[in-house]
């Protein structure tokens, strides 16, 4: 069951669909280019979980800040990152967000409040809690959002930061993306309870479980939490139940140990198809509109790839730059 679309103008709802679609197409392309050897290192795809990033970020303002994980493309795009500079970064070019120094696991855009992907599980939670403290000290009503996985929720920083945020009433949203697996290990084997959100009670803060493939459910929970945070009510833990449709990382010939039937079942709950269906049902989207959206998304993506390909690689000497700021 889809939760009802909230008080959002149809334009906004279509924009949410567009963002999700942009993430999906961006990663499909990134995966293909990775396998083609144009993108290096490691690529973790967010495909299937787009409603979480877009649902949460739709509740945020530009001055709000987020942090991401090793699976960061979705959060970047949802917060409004520039596709050109993202793709250029994956291509290892000078024009990339990190001048080619970061790659997929480290894309950041502090200008839009995206404090970076992070290769360490739970590594970002404390950093963004510092951004929440900064927001509180600035006193402008901004919030900070920590995205992290079910795996990360077992790590020390989760506990330390939730307690600090609860005690200091920091304007924080802790978004657990429970996709049921940490790499190849099932959450059921590493969590005593199936709901991470149950841990919120130990800090005296709200703990909410939502269907993470239902963008409006995510949006509404995030919105409530953001309101609460902005008005001094402190942090909220939101657990979004979702699923990644692809393997943990893109790699040729890497077996996915999960049950194929489980994967198929979750593909049936695809968050993008779901929103598309709903918008069509409500008369906010028709074939023409959908085709136009696909075309526009693909055009932006092609432009990003073209930008990346036309951009120069860094010079070897640039490796020695940026270790320290001036």
């Amino acid at each position: 069951m889809q939760s009802l679309s909230p008080n959002l103008p149809p334009d906004t709802q279509r924009e949410m669909l567009r963002r999700m679609l942009t993430i999906r197409r961006f990663e499909e392309r990134a995966s293909a280019d990775y396998l083609a050897g144009k993108i290096y290192g490691v690529v973790h795809c967010y495909i299937g979980e787009e409603a979480v990033a877009v649902g949460v970020c739709s509740a945020l303002d530009r001055g709000d800040r987020i942090i991401s994980t090793h699976r960061g493309h979705g959060h970047c795009i949802a917060k409004g990152a520039d596709l050109n500079r993202m793709m250029a970064e994956l291509y290892g070019r000078q024009t990339g967000y990190c001048k080619g120094k970061g790659g997929s696991m480290h894309i950041a855009d502090f200008g839009i409040g995206m404090l970076g992907a992070n290769g360490i599980v739970a590594g970002g939670i404390a950093i963004v809690t510092g951004a929440g403290l900064a927001a509180q000290m600035e006193g402008k009503g901004c919030v900070a959002v920590s995205f992290f996985g079910d795996g990360a929720s077992n790590a020390g920083p989760f506990h330390e930061c939730l307690n600090i945020a609860a005690t200091w009433k920091l304007p924080m949203l802790y978004i657990c993306e429970n996709n049921m697996y940490a790499a190849n290990t099932a959450a059921a084997a590493t969590h005593a309870l199936s709901d991470v959100a149950a841990r919120a009670a130990g800090y005296g803060i709200p703990g909410v479980v939502v269907d993470g493939n239902d963008i409006f459910a995510v949006y509404q929970a995030a919105n409530r939490a953001a309101d609460r945070a902005r008005s001094g009510g402190g942090p909220t833990l939101i657990e979004c139940k979702t699923y990644r449709q692809r393997a943990h990382t893109e790699r040729r010939g890497q077996p996915d140990p999960r049950d194929p039937a489980e994967i198929e079942a979750w593909k049936g709950k695809d968050p993008i198809a779901r929103l598309e269906r709903q918008l069509r049902e409500q008369g906010h989207l028709d074939n023409t509109g959908m085709e136009a959206m696909e075309r526009e998304v693909m055009a932006a993506l092609e432009a990003a790839v073209a930008f990346a390909e036309a951009s120069p690689f860094p010079t070897p000497e640039q490796a020695a730059e940026d270790a320290f700021a001036a």
Binding site: G92, H106, G119, A182, A320
Partner: protein
């Protein structure tokens, strides 16, 4: 002799020891499929992503008579466990006056070359060398890793096995029979008389390639692989430098306060070695920066056979005559 990859040799060492000793068990954030299949989930434990807890739990289990192995996987992930490593594992035997032993093996993949950027391309073994109370090694061949892992698993102390990511799929001969390689015994991977190159892991192979090339010019390079970092075989290094008079150190890590600095000190603080040293010590290391992602940047940061070659040539030039006179 049959050939195994570096990784296969490592897994075989663990499996053989686990068959021998039921007190050994294994913890890691993902279970290694071949070991899981043979030993089951009680002895090959897939755990939450809590390297700090695993590292500490190994200490407790070891103090109760078990012989745990904790696979940190990437060395990067062990930094969340550093309190348990530095404050607990390294010191516990000493600070409790030696009343009980703590046989623990920690495994960690190190090094770069995979374009996985700063966090996932680290070679921080020197940080651990600086901590008193830990043994550690970094092998360069399938033969060495198997023999050193066996010694480590049988050792009654916390031991860190640093394992080179670049070498995981590299093959080499590994005998079928049981063998162990003692700690503190460097391996002279190639004998030579003009210059000593002390190299680690992947750079052993790069140094051998450089040596091969220089041999065609009549330059004889000795390549020493210390294998274990703590204890370090200072004697073999010093003897070699006393013979060649020249020392080049090749390390995939940055130089500052690193393995390469330690080898330089070990050579130059020894009277007999210093007296025979004909040229400044030469460190051929990574640039002292985090490791970048883009291939052009990344390969510029790491040393390779070319830089080793250049380093050797520099060492062969030695001091300029004026300076030698001034001595």
């Amino acid at each position: 002799m049959r050939e195994l990859t570096y990784n296969e040799a490592a897994v075989e060492a663990v499996a053989e020891e686990m068959r021998r000793d039921p007190k050994i068990f294994y913890m890691s954030t993902d279970a290694l499929p071949p070991l899981l299949k043979e030993f089951g989930p009680e002895r090959i434990r897939a755990t939450p992503i809590t390297e700090a807890a695993l590292t500490g739990m190994a200490i407790g289990a070891a103090g109760c008579g078990f012989r745990p192995i904790v696979d940190w996987r990437q060395v990067t992930f062990c930094f969340v466990a550093m309190d348990q490593i530095v404050n607990q594992a390294a010191k516990i035997h000493y600070m409790f006056g030696g009343q009980v032993t703590f046989p623990i093996l920690y495994r960690a993949a190190v090094g770069g070359g995979g374009q996985v950027a700063a966090q996932h391309s680290q070679s921080p073994y020197s940080m651990f060398m600086n901590v008193a109370g830990l043994k550690m090694f970094l092998p360069s061949t399938p033969y060495d890793i198997k023999g050193l892992l066996k010694t480590a698993i049988r050792d009654n102390n916390p031991v860190i096995s640093f394992e080179s990511s670049r070498l995981m799929t590299r093959k080499g001969p590994v005998p079928e029979e049981d063998y162990a390689i003692p700690f503190g015994k460097a391996d002279i991977k190639r004998e030579g008389s003009d210059v000593t190159v002390v190299a680690l892991a992947w750079l052993v192979h790069e140094a051998l390639a450089a040596a091969e090339e220089l041999a065609t010019e009549g330059i004889s390079v000795e390549v020493i692989d210390p294998r274990s970092l703590v204890p370090l075989d200072a004697e073999t290094i010093r003897n070699s430098v006393q013979k060649t008079g020249r020392l080049v150190i090749a390390d995939e890590a940055g130089p500052t306060a690193g393995f390469s600095a330690e080898v330089a000190a070990v050579a130059t603080e020894d009277g007999a070695t210093f007296a025979r040293l004909q040229a400044p010590v030469k460190r051929v290391c990574a640039l002292q920066v985090p490791i970048p992602y883009s291939p052009i940047l990344e390969s510029h940061v790491f040393p390779d056979r070319k830089r080793i070659l250049a380093g050797i040539r520099e060492a062969l030039e030695g001091c300029s005559p004026r300076q030698q006179t001034a001595r």
